[in-house]
Amino acid sequence: MRVPLSWLRDYVEVELEADRLAERLTLLGMEVKAVERWGADWRSVVVGELLEVRPHPNADRLSLTRVTVGGETLDIVCGATNIAAGQRVPVALPGAMLPGGRAIERTEKMGVVSNGMLCSGDELGLTSDAEGILILPADTPVGAGLMDLYGDVVLDVDVKPNRGDALCLVGLAREVGAATGAPLRFPDCTVDEGSDPIDALLAVEVEDPALCSRFVGRHVSGVAVGPSPDLVQMRLMAAGMRPVSNVVDASNYVMLELGKPIHTFDAAAVTDGRIIVRLAHPGERLETLDHVDRELTGDTLLIADPAGPLAIAGVMGGASSEVSGVTRDVVIESAIFDPVSIRRTAFRYALRSEASLRFEKGQEDRLARLGADRTARLIVEWAGGTAAIGRIDTAPDEPTQARVAFRPSRVDRLLGASLRSDEQQALLARVGIATEPAPAGTLVPIASSPEPLSVTAGEGEALLAVVPTWRRDISVEADLAEEVARVRGYELVPSLTPDTAMPSYLPDPLAMRHAVREALAGAGLTEVVTHALVAPAADDRFGPLDDGPVPPGEAPARGQRITVTNPLSREHSVLRRSLVGSLLDVVGTNLRHGRSNVAVFEIGKGYGRDEAGIREWWRLGLALAGAARPAFWADEGRAFDLDDAKGLLELIGRSIGAGRTAYAPLHDARDLHPGRSARIRLGESTAPTLVGRVGELHPDAIEALGLRTDRVIVAEVAVSGLTEGVPRPVVALPPPRYPAVERDLAIVVPEATPAGEVMETVGAAAGPLLVGQRLFDIYRGAPLAAGDKSLAVHLEFRSAERTLTEDEVETIVAGILASLGQRGWSIRT
């Protein structure tokens, strides 16, 4: 809400300097977002008096003027026709800068030098009149700077949704009064009425009082529609509203002043002078003020007449009944509508306006009457005409002030303060809340939902707050606690370190995620955080990756995808089911930046839904591309390959205490290289600790995604404890006391035989004394037969109880050889 200070001063004395006022309002809960110096851009614009106006010798449409600006006399060429000698007008001197950055220079116009410019209200941003020069009052001092005369300070106040009553100058004047103690000057709402009773001119029928609890109508006849007084236009402009005409401006002025949206109709367009407030009939149409022909839905509340719709109630008027230059008689509508109905209607037609915003927040009932009267008064004042006697009022009985009981002791307990009840009463009085003693047994309202809850106050414990009718936000005890606190000033709340009981210890559900993050960052990867919302195509391609039973405590990646029904863009319209697509985006972007290497990981969620409901699952994803090791003067560089990714996953496995490592070839994964991808499963099959897949991206996918690289390695895995686990403490053993016996074997197998299978066979045959097995070479070529390869493994045998003898080890190795022989594999010696 934009608040011109000069206008605010109509309703309350403001002695504070603008910045200080802004701070006080902010500390009261009316946050001032900005303090704008209105008119700061009228540099070198001064008041001049026209001495002479005569035709331009060379141009019919221009005039030559002589203007005094106090001392100096200037010749200025002007194109407007509303000027005459003796008038006082704004003069932009050479060097002036007008709103919008328009610079004024000494120029030559059709052979005559012009030493500046006479300004219209529009050029100055003061009024909406772009046709004529702004004619200033005759007593305006010549030579004065326009900024000194019309400059203002405009506060931009962020009025919160619960304080619809403060979305107007009078409401904010009340807040200023709460801060400074200055009394409110309520605007004059008396109307000089003519002789015709309104009943003869206007009838109103409300079909559904639940949707329109009160309709107040007034009638003004014989108006002369034209521009509003300049001062009014200036105020509306400063407040951010464009002046339209004196009648329409009167309704907007009242909305800004009292917070009451008002609508004015051309009375000639109201058939039979009868207004009917009703729901639209299905299929009914209305051309609204913005000249859009709209088909109305059956839940749209209308202002209608016997002939059909006139306006969408509370949202937008109709074109046919718009007040225009030919309007003679005006009907004023000042009504109270159901906030929910207005909000829904405004959303439905995408027509949220200053008016609908105020209706949505709920309106003080009394304003229906005050708004109608005030508008009638201003129309008569600005547009002439005669107000009919009285008003049409469908519900003239105004509700009394609500009484809300509260316990000062409970307010103290909430605030951590020790205020006496008379202190609390005095604070409440500053915002117009009177207090009365509460009789014994008074119910103190605590909460209104899920169902009303109140408690019975003890003897002398409670007070009754008499809530002003405009404060619709105060209904329970806690609301009064806030009023006490904010009027007193939050700066006076003491700052205490909590000393109440501590909760018992709970583990940190992020501990495992942090451990994995640390491990991968330590291994050289960069952590990324990508969008959970992705393009449908990305989700089609990569998700969800279901790789069988997940570690206990982790959620399976399963289900249909979840689509946003009102996305900002298609690029971010579905919730991802895999991290891989997002990571490849990161790879692509960074390669395009000219990076030679990208090594990234993310711990993030996948999302899906099935018959069990919404599912969310945590996964670790990683992507590697480019140089694993950059070329260095002493070393050759090396590109990332599948084994880097496997090594990283094994590192995670070790750091979470996974036992066995098992890879199974994955030949048919879409987007993965059929010969370079695998399922990975670490730990025991009944309780795996890391499960997922790792592989090189298929060359087709690299091309489809436009990645500027030959190879990208990706992995996505479920890891035990990602959801809410804590790394288990290491179970540490003393260093071995007995020496190890080591053996190397070179095992010859067919090319197609996976190394994993060979090592498993060795491990199974060796038994528990084999404590380490390391594949250290794979050899192909002579003297091996074509199609064979030799796997060289280093074996380490050790007992925790004794030194192994050569004989024992030879026996085990013999067993291994026998087992390998059974598979048809031989040993190279």
Binding site: P161, P339, P450, A478, L510, H514, E518, I562, T589
Partner: protein
């Protein structure tokens, strides 16, 4: 052979050997000389065989002379050995010299994302005050995201959260971490001190200070006597931990439907130190979080009796805190994942 002849031979052997030692140019040659002369079958042993033929009274004299020769040879060998070794070492060291001014071998060190690290830093501060981390779902229903937080359908306050809805009826992407308050109250009994970090979503056009995905940290403390003063004290501690012990703070009224009274919490602008600059809209203050006393309606939906229990909640934007900590001016940088940006956080 007589004594003088033998002595002469010893002297000759000594002189010859010392000459040979002096001529040796490497340790191996020198050791060979040593073995040839002093070894079991060496030339000295050979000379000493002649002692048996001497008169008994001459034997000790020649024996002593032989020992002196042995010692002299050994000393010469030792000396020469030392010379040769240092020469060899010098040669090796000279050969091994490298260009020490060339840069060292790069060691890969990754980095952790500033959003995650900021959340961890926030959790660490509140952890000192007994707060534990909890989490709640990101796909929520309207009831938990709004209604249980005292925001009924069609409430004008819904304008504060532009919402992304999903194709599961009644569900949406959580607009804030606040539904976690309900989750925690259902899981734990007071005293409660909970922290809820996580991803949130809003229907919001992206600019330097807004995104449709962002991260929040919610806090909740509930007990019988938890007050607004406790909230202020805790937030002061937090601001001082994050932005310096002498950073002024400001506690002022705010508005949230799920708190009453509601609070906005400011710190003095970290850019201009309160003077007023574009970063703080010339106010000298920066709002870092919203807070307030948990509304009785919310306590009831959490299953707690608002007559017995009271407490506070707060919520902050993680990117906002990260911006202030790292002097970053545009929160789009966090989700762009340009490694040139991220790698600075090492």
């Amino acid at each position: 052979m007589d004594r003088s002849e033998l002595t002469a031979r010893l002297d000759a052997l000594r002189d010859a050997t010392m000459a040979e030692a002096a001529e040796a140019t490497d340790v191996a040659t020198l050791e060979a000389v040593g073995v040839e002369v002093l070894g079991k079958k060496g030339r000295l042993t050979e000379v000493l065989r002649g002692i048996g033929a001497l008169a008994p009274e001459d034997r000790p004299v020649v024996g002593a002379a032989a020992n002196a020769v042995r010692e002299a040879i050994e000393a010469a060998l030792d000396e020469r050995r030392g010379e040769l070794r240092s020469a060899e070492l010098e040669t090796r060291l000279a050969a091994e010299a490298v260009d020490v001014t060339a840069p060292g071998r790069p060691v890969a060190r990754g980095s952790l994302h500033p959003v995650g690290e900021t959340m961890r830093a926030i959790a660490e501060v509140f952890g000192r005050f007994g707060f534990t981390v909890f989490e709640s779902p990101e796909v929520e229903d309207d009831v938990r995201n709004f209604q249980m937080l005292n925001i009924p359908p069609d409430h004008p306050a819904r304008d504060l959260w532009d919402t992304l809805y999903v194709d599961e009826p009644g569900y949406l992407l959580r607009t804030h971490t606040s539904p976690g308050q309900i989750e925690v109250m259902h899981r734990e009994r007071p005293p409660i001190r909970a922290l809820l970090p996580g991803r949130c979503f809003r229907y919001e056009a992206v600019d330097a200070s807004h995104g449709f995905e962002f991260f929040q940290v919610e806090g909740l403390m509930v007990d019988e006597g938890t007050t607004l003063a406790d909230l202020k004290g805790l937030l002061d501690e937090f601001a001082h931990a994050m932005f310096g012990a002498d950073r002024p703070t400001r506690f002022r009224p705010g508005y949230y439907p799920f708190t009453e009274p509601s609070v906005a919490f400011d710190v003095e602008c970290v850019v201009c130190d309160g003077v007023g600059c574009p970063a703080c809209s010339r106010s000298g203050w920066m709002t870092i979080l919203g807070a307030g006393m948990v509304h009785p309606v919310v306590l009831r939906y959490g299953g707690l009796d608002p007559e017995l229990y009271q407490g506070f909640a707060f919520g902050m934007g993680v990117e906002r805190i990260a911006n202030l900590r790292h002097a970053v001016g545009d929160l789009r940088l966090y989700l762009e994942n340009d490694l040139r940006f991220l790698e600075q956080f090492r």
